[in-house]
């Protein structure tokens, strides 16, 4: 495994992605210390004012400090990304293992359901479900998490099906080993690489998805902020005060780009085949 890390850091773009990501996580964690102002202090008289010494990225329609709100917003944006990613990974692993392990009608049913989830555009499903349940930090992350498990399930199922064919599994079973244990021992390590890459890229798409939701007003609700919701407030004023929409947009792009770069780098680093082909 150390060689994987080495290869990852040889990948310059992936290193850049990892560094940007660490910085963003750092900013989110230490928002209370880094923020120059209280993100909830309103200054109606300074509505939409551009960047100044006290407000480095300017002020939003209620005169709140955009930089401070973005630092706190990073918490929402990033944690929705991570948590939804973890939820979908978990659901995916469970569904995939059930389908692969039991086979038969369980497999058929799960894979049909997965197909349904893959066919309905995720964005529509999520935005409708969030609107119905009521938008909030929790509903957004749970619903996104529950709607993007299919990729993981497919990988896991495929791996289990191929492992089941292997003679050593038969042999282990003959000796009375519990097949669940065999599967977990052999399956998870084998599909670790694709799963890691998928999670990384998945987090990127979740962040993008959340920002679209928040932008349309179906995401994180006031007074809590995410980058998407800050941007959305700037939308009405972007002709006169473009800074409100510009900076959160850049933050979203940076975060998504960083995850994408890291994901690409991980894919190359975890798959030696690809590297040698270059």
């Amino acid at each position: 495994m150390p060689s994987v890390l080495q290869r990852l850091f040889q990948h310059k773009l992936a290193t850049v992605g990892a560094i940007v990501l660490l910085l963003l996580v750092f900013a989110a964690l230490f928002a209370p210390w880094l923020a120059p102002n209280n993100p909830e202090d309103v200054h109606p008289e300074a509505s939409l004012r551009g960047p100044s010494r006290q407000f480095p990225l300017g002020q939003d329609p209620s005169g709140r400090c955009i930089l401070s709100r973005m630092l706190y917003g990073a918490r929402a944006s990033l944690s929705v990304g991570f948590l939804a990613g973890v939820i979908s990974l978990g659901v995916g692993i469970i569904m995939g293992s059930l389908a692969g392990y039991f086979g038969g009608w369980v497999d058929l049913l799960i894979m049909r359901v997965a197909e349904v989830f893959m066919t309905i555009p995720q964005f529509l499903l999520v935005i409708a479900a969030v609107a119905i349940v009521g938008p909030s930090f929790t509903s957004v992350l749970v619903i996104i998490g529950l709607s993007s498990w299919t990729g993981y399930a497919r990988v896991l199922r495929g791996e289990i099906l191929s492992i089941k064919q292997k003679p050593f599994v038969e042999a282990a079973r003959a000796y009375g080993s519990s097949s669940w244990r065999i599967l977990l021992r052999h399956v998870l390590p084998n599909c670790l690489s694709p799963l890691i890459v998928m999670v990384t890229l998945n987090v990127a798409s979740v962040i993008l998805l959340e920002s679209s939701l928040s932008f349309l007003g179906f995401g994180i609700q006031e007074p809590q902020a995410s980058w998407g919701s800050i941007l959305s407030q700037g939308r009405a004023y972007f002709q006169s005060a473009p800074h409100v929409a510009t900076f959160p947009g850049i933050a979203i792009m940076l975060a998504v780009l960083a995850f994408n770069l890291l994901g690409d780098g991980l894919r190359d680093a975890l798959d030696p085949k690809l590297v040698e082909g270059e």
């Binding site: 349904v116 309905i120 964005f123 119905i132 009521g134 473009p242 947009g249 998504v256 780009l257």
Partner: protein, 306 residues
């Protein structure tokens, strides 16, 4: 070939049923009475009662579902609780706008992605490749709505070349088409490049070169044709991608299409309409995937036999 197509269509039927079940089930996610939600918050009691009777909401879930399904199959998807117009009428009046926007955006996306992807693969590890790949990565990471705002600020507000929103003239098409086409092109370009790079390692590409064919012919006729096979299989996701873009971009540009109809319906909690739009788009995705399967068989002779 015919057998293959028929088989695909038969396989799509349970899928469509599954989709309809999920879409219908969505409405039951709401805390409390789904009828109250479908009818809208301020609906008087008699409206609620009539909806409950008409759609069988006093019966068990599966009965409700089949009542709803049989109505939908006959083209009755309910009425908008806000405008009281039939949902099918509303969709029919908005659909052309969405189709037109998506058509041009797709064309633009293809026109950007294919040449760029091919050139990047052909000139691998040169500055052309790096520039194209950077374009793709940035394009994929940029939220579409943000790109739309930037384009509006630059081309509509500052330069005043195009209107900021609305429809009517060709000029109205430029910015929404550009936003939608550009974001889609980024991902597609990457796929074209990767797929082509894979194919360029193949022996038959070497054979084509050994024949003395021009590099352009080798690339387009021999390599790209094969590279298309994996690209076509994911073209079904193209529609899904366009849908997301459409919803956001129509909202920003006040484009009177399905996407905007959906966001308005969601904000007004007009759920008959929401249900119908999601169902329709999902069925369109199924149809697109069917089309892809057929296209796949046309492109790859190996599929036709099996």
């Amino acid at each position: 070939m015919l057998k293959y197509v028929v088989r695909r269509i038969l396989l799509a039927i349970p899928l469509v049923l599954g989709i309809s079940l999920l879409v219908f089930g969505l409405m039951h996610l709401a805390p409390g009475d789904p009828v109250r939600m479908l009818a809208g918050r301020e609906a008087p009691q008699e409206v609620i009662d009539s909806i409950r009777r008409e759609w069988g909401f006093d019966k068990p879930f599966l009965v409700q579902y089949f009542t709803w399904l049989s109505k939908v199959l006959r083209g009755d998807m309910g009425r908008s609780v806000i405008s009281q117009l039939p949902v099918s009428y509303l969709i029919k009046s908005r659909l052309p706008y969405t189709l037109k926007l998506n058509f041009w955006a797709t064309l633009l996306g293809l026109a950007i992605a294919f040449p760029l992807g091919v050139i990047a693969a052909a000139k691998r590890q040169t500055w052309v490749d790096y520039a194209a790949s950077a374009f793709a990565l940035v394009g994929m990471s940029m939220p579409g709505f943000w790109l739309a705002l930037v384009l509006i600020i630059v081309f509509a507000v500052q330069l005043n070349w195009f209107p900021t929103s609305g429809t009517g003239t060709w000029a109205h098409y430029v910015l929404p088409t550009a936003t939608l086409g550009f974001s889609w092109a980024a991902g597609l370009m990457r796929m074209v490049r990767t797929s082509l790079l894979e194919v360029l390692k193949e022996d038959y590409v070497r054979t084509a070169r050994a024949k003395g064919l021009r590099e352009k012919v080798v690339l387009v006729k021999h390599a790209l044709r094969n590279a298309l096979i994996p690209i076509v299989t994911v073209l079904g996701t193209w529609l899904a991608y366009m849908v997301v873009g459409t919803v956001v971009i129509e909202t920003i540009f006040a484009w009177p299409g399905l996407g905007r109809l959906l966001t308005t319906a969601l904000l007004q909690r007009d759920f008959f309409l929401v249900q119908a739009i999601i169902l329709m788009i999902s069925v369109a995705v199924v149809a697109a995937n069917l089309l892809v399967d057929v296209l796949y068989a046309v492109i790859d002779p190996r599929v036709r036999l099996s």
